[in-house]
């Protein structure tokens, strides 16, 4: 019977080897995956009991941990909660969002770049501390953006994104309605659960960062993309004549589309610059119709549509320019309607690219990662994503936008002594929902320091172009003024 006993021994050896290998997998190979599971309370409890790093804007902390006499030793606090909530997100016992989530490893001290710090902490037997995250945000611009949204009539919902055109740094990002992350960071978990439930169920969705997560038809601001596609096609320049008039008849259809003011844009044939100045629907519908879906889609994608770019904040929604649109839909897309949707961030990227000689930069929020002693561990380098239009096309578009502010629909954004370029937009998704007011702009024209996109959804908005400009324009202007230093 000894031979089968030896076989049984080998079999048992295999069983125990399996157990050893599996235990190694569970405890050594897999833990990172297990630690990232949001339900893993051990990791959260440990993170809760640790001195988490601060999130800094300029020299001020917009999120920091302060010692507290409870089981968890540290309380996460947000000194300017509502203003920065879309950026910082919240850090609760149950989950995290925003920079609190994307930079969790740095803030909690687990990041490999903090290895030396961790080692020193361990050797000196002191409590481990998290690293700090320096944001790209300009505090004054953020103040202006948030104050502007807050000052809107009624309980308007809106978002503002400001970018530095040459780098892609996010200078401001605000969204209303917003929430107080302090209440979610409380150690009274019962209350936290209640607050979270209320916020999740609220109809006006305060937890949504509208600047990056809400996609809406960009309306007339998308005419910039149409104009870019037209000039890039080589058949047009800023002075080329394009169709004006009262109506555009959609292809394969009986429907006609008029201009926002019911006028004729100043004649049957107008210059492309004039068309942008007065936001002439007829001109841009016929341009989009002539260029076709493919050319329009390629131009939109060159600006960043149909993909996501933001790595520092979770939840960027894809702005869409679908390639399966039929002819009437493509024509409608020329003025940012039909199936075209965009986030405020995406429209800010379009303007920033125009202001930056046509180069699209990856937007980023995290400027530097710092050790607890504030020494810089890592700095984000600007990254060029694509060249959306040539430098000469960009220059022509810039001039067209400047003239739109000087003598077109966007005069509300004029800043004395500074050349500003801009474009208004009003879009509607369905008849029963209020229209969205858009405003995009950049300044100064000779050396662009800031590109802004403002989106406002307000029940009070009239369905006309200038009313939209009146809502978003002043906010964009305030943000630009906050950034421009001269």
């Amino acid at each position: 019977m000894n031979k089968p006993i030896r076989v049984v021994a080998v079999f048992c050896l295999a069983l125990f080897m399996l157990l050893l290998v599996n235990a190694t997998y569970v405890q050594y190979v897999r833990p990172d995956g297990l630690a990232d599971d949001p339900r893993n309370r051990r990791v959260i409890s440990a993170a809760f009991s640790r001195e988490r790093g601060a999130i800094l804007v300029g020299k001020e902390a917009v999120a920091r941990s302060v010692p507290i006499e409870t089981k968890y030793k540290f309380q996460r606090t947000y000194p300017q909660p509502f203003k920065y909530a879309p950026l910082t997100g919240y850090f609760s016992y149950y989950s995290q969002t925003g920079v609190e989530r994307s930079q969790n490893r740095v803030l909690s001290g687990d990041d490999s770049r903090l290895f030396v710090t961790r080692l020193v902490d361990m050797l000196s037997n002191s409590e481990p501390k998290g690293g700090n995250v320096q944001l790209t945000v300009n505090a004054k611009a953020q103040d202006a953006a948030f104050a502007g949204l807050e000052a809107l009539p009624g309980d308007a919902q809106g978002a503002v994104v400001a970018l530095e055109p040459s780098t892609g740094r996010v200078l401001a990002m605000a969204s209303t309605p917003t929430f107080d992350p302090n209440r979610l960071a409380s150690h009274d978990f019962g209350e936290v659960a209640d607050v979270a439930e209320k916020l999740n169920d609220a109809e006006n969705q305060p937890l949504v960062n509208r600047a990056i997560a809400t996609t809406l038809p960009p309306g007339s601001t998308f005419k910039l993309v149409t104009a870019a596609a037209a000039i890039e096609s080589g058949k047009y320049d800023a002075g080329s004549l394009v169709p004006g008039g009262y109506k555009f008849q959609l292809p394969e259809s009986e429907t006609t589309i008029g201009n926002h003011d019911g006028g004729n844009c100043g004649g049957p044939r107008i210059t492309l610059t004039r068309a942008l100045e007065v936001s002439c629907n007829v001109a841009f519908l016929s341009l989009a119709n002539e260029l076709g879906t493919e050319a329009m889609a390629e131009q939109a994608e060159a600006f960043g549509f149909n993909s996501t770019q933001l790595e520092d904040l979770p939840g960027q929604a894809k702005s869409l320019y679908p390639r399966d649109m039929n002819a009437p839909q493509t024509a409608m897309s020329g003025m940012g309607q039909s199936n075209v949707t965009s986030t405020p961030l995406q429209m800010a990227m379009v303007v920033a690219a125009i202001a930056n000689d046509g180069d699209v930069m990856r937007p980023y929020v995290v400027d530097e990662v710092r050790a607890p002693n504030l020494s810089v561990l890592d700095r984000t380098d600007p990254e060029t994503l694509s060249n959306a239009v040539s430098a000469s096309t960009a220059a022509e578009l810039k001039d067209m936008m400047v003239s739109t502010v000087e003598q077109g629909t966007a005069t509300v954004a004029q800043i004395p002594g500074v050349e500003v370029g801009g474009k208004t937009g009003t879009a509607q998704s369905t008849e029963d929902r209020p229209p969205y007011a858009w405003f995009v702009s950049f300044a100064p024209a000779d050396d662009p320091q800031v590109a802004v996109a403002v989106m406002v959804e307000a029940s009070a908005t009239a369905r006309n172009e200038i009313a939209g400009g009146l809502l978003g324009g002043p906010i964009a202007k305030a943000v630009m003024e906050a950034v421009i230093t001269r």
């Binding site: 048992c12 069983l15 569970v26 050594y28 051990r42 990791v43």
Partner: protein, 467 residues
């Protein structure tokens, strides 16, 4: 009867000194762990460490002295391994008690009870070694043991005393004491299988057909395998416990294979069990659910009786990493039954992969010693008994630790010697006593059959010389 022990003049040494040395190490593990629990949980070495350690030493020394007297040639490694595991288990259960007490749970004296069970286990261990001087005596009780085993397995189905815990019906409740009769049944069944197979092995081994290099058994010999298959399936369907079912049928197959030396039995049995398990998975909701939870743990985390327990075990073990968080620095209380079925996860969390590997290796060594005893045993019954007892430990450890670490679907079995649980602990101490008895018989020098020097032959030569 082969005389492996004395072939080529090799005689096993007693090695009781080695056993004593290893026992000192094992006690250091048990008492050291108890001290570490005190340091980690309360910041001081527990005040009762002398009393606790003294009791542990007393039990182990009593076991060792018994072995020295009544089984001097027994394997010297088994007892220390078991003592180390039992001691570590006690410390970890004590660690859970402290947390349970802080959480105001009604039951937080598991360690105290476990120590009582261990005492009872050691008493039985001593009793078995003292009273059972030759394991072949058990062969007389082949059918009694078989009947006992089956009755024990069926006890949980009786009204009033049987009770269902978390969907599996493997408990009985008598006079306030809960008992898992399956734990005792496995010892009885090993004895029954060994006794039956040693008698009928020839009938089962001979005759058959060869298909694709495998000797398949004759159809009419399928009787016992079908009977055991039926019992296993009954356990699976009625008790809804895949682990026990796998344990008993696997045990039977291994012993059948060893007795007959026919791999064909393994093929037939393996196929039958796979089919049965597949059917149960499809037809018995509880078993199917366990499978679903195992395959998609993410979907069942929040549902009642879902994957909360195994997922928390994984979180805990992952959190423990290579060297663990240290006693008192983990959250093993988040894992339901961290003191019994999931004790390995609690150990993984606070003592790390290192300790889990050490434990698996200890079990591996126990199985290895058992199979070694089987190899050198001089009688067929002893061989089968040792193989059976070793396989029971191997299968049970695989099913439990594999379940806890999500290698296989979860089942409700205890980790031998570590887990809180009286029936399991006592049964396992008896298993060790039986193994030591068989090994003492196997390693003892064979009495010489030729006449002693100074017998008539030698006298005769001397006479010639003298003249």
């Amino acid at each position: 009867m082969t005389q492996t022990g004395s072939l080529m003049g090799f005689v096993h040494r007693q090695r009781r000194g080695a056993e004593l040395f290893l026992l000192v190490l094992a006690l250091a593990v048990g008492i050291g762990a108890y001290a570490a629990v005190g340091l980690g949980m309360e910041g001081t070495i527990p005040a009762d460490i002398v009393g606790y350690g003294g009791w542990l030493v007393l039990l182990i020394v009593a076991a060792h002295v018994t072995v020295r007297i009544v089984a001097p040639y027994a394997d010297p490694v088994l007892l220390p391994l078991v003592a180390a595991l039992n001691g570590l288990g006690l410390a970890v259960i004590h660690r859970m008690d402290i947390t349970y007490e802080a959480m105001d749970k009604p039951n937080h004296d598991f360690a105290q009870q476990q120590l009582t069970w261990m005492t009872l286990g050691v008493v039985l261990f001593i009793g078995v070694l003292v009273l059972l001087r030759d394991h072949r005596f058990l062969q007389r009780f082949t059918y009694t043991a078989g009947l006992t085993g089956i009755v024990l397995l069926l006890l949980p189905f009786l009204p009033f005393i049987g009770k269902e815990v978390y969907g599996a019906r493997i408990w009985i409740n008598v006079a306030g004491f809960s008992f898992q009769p399956g734990e005792v049944a496995k010892v009885a069944l090993v004895i029954a299988f060994a006794g039956y197979l040693v008698l009928h092995r020839d009938a089962l081994a001979l005759a058959g057909r060869r298909v694709l290099f495998i000797d398949l058994p004759r159809g009419r010999d399928l009787g016992p395998i079908l009977a055991m298959f039926g019992v296993s399936m009954m356990i699976l369907v009625l008790q809804r416990d895949l682990g026990s079912s796998l344990l008993f049928f696997g045990l039977f197959l291994v012993m059948l294979y060893v007795a007959t030396e026919r791999p064909g039995w393994l093929v037939v049995g393996g196929l039958m069990f796979s089919l049965g398990a597949l059917l149960a998975w499809a037809l018995v909701p509880h078993v199917g659910r366990r499978f679903d939870i195992w395959l998609n743990p993410q979907d069942y985390y929040d549902s009642v009786g879902g994957s909360y327990q195994p997922t928390e075990a994984l979180f805990g073990m992952g959190w423990g990493g290579l060297i663990g968080r240290g006693f008192g620095n983990g959250m093993p209380e988040r894992i339901t039954f961290a003191e019994s079925d999931f004790i390995v996860a609690a150990i993984g969390e606070e003592l790390g992969l290192t300790a889990v590997m050490a434990i698996i290796l200890c079990y591996g060594l126990i199985v290895e010693r058992a199979l070694r005893i089987a190899l050198i045993a001089r009688d067929g019954f002893g061989k089968l008994l040792a193989v059976g007892l070793g396989s029971v430990v191997a299968l049970q450890v695989f099913v439990v630790i594999g379940g806890v670490t999500s290698l296989i679907p979860l089942t409700g079995l205890t980790t031998p010697f570590l887990s809180y649980g009286g029936s399991s602990l006592i049964a396992n101490w008896v298993i060790v006593a039986l193994l030591l008895r068989v090994s003492d018989q196997a390693r003892r020098p064979v009495p010489r059959l030729e006449p002693e020097p100074g017998g008539p032959d030698e006298e005769h030569t001397q006479v010639v010389k003298l003249r």
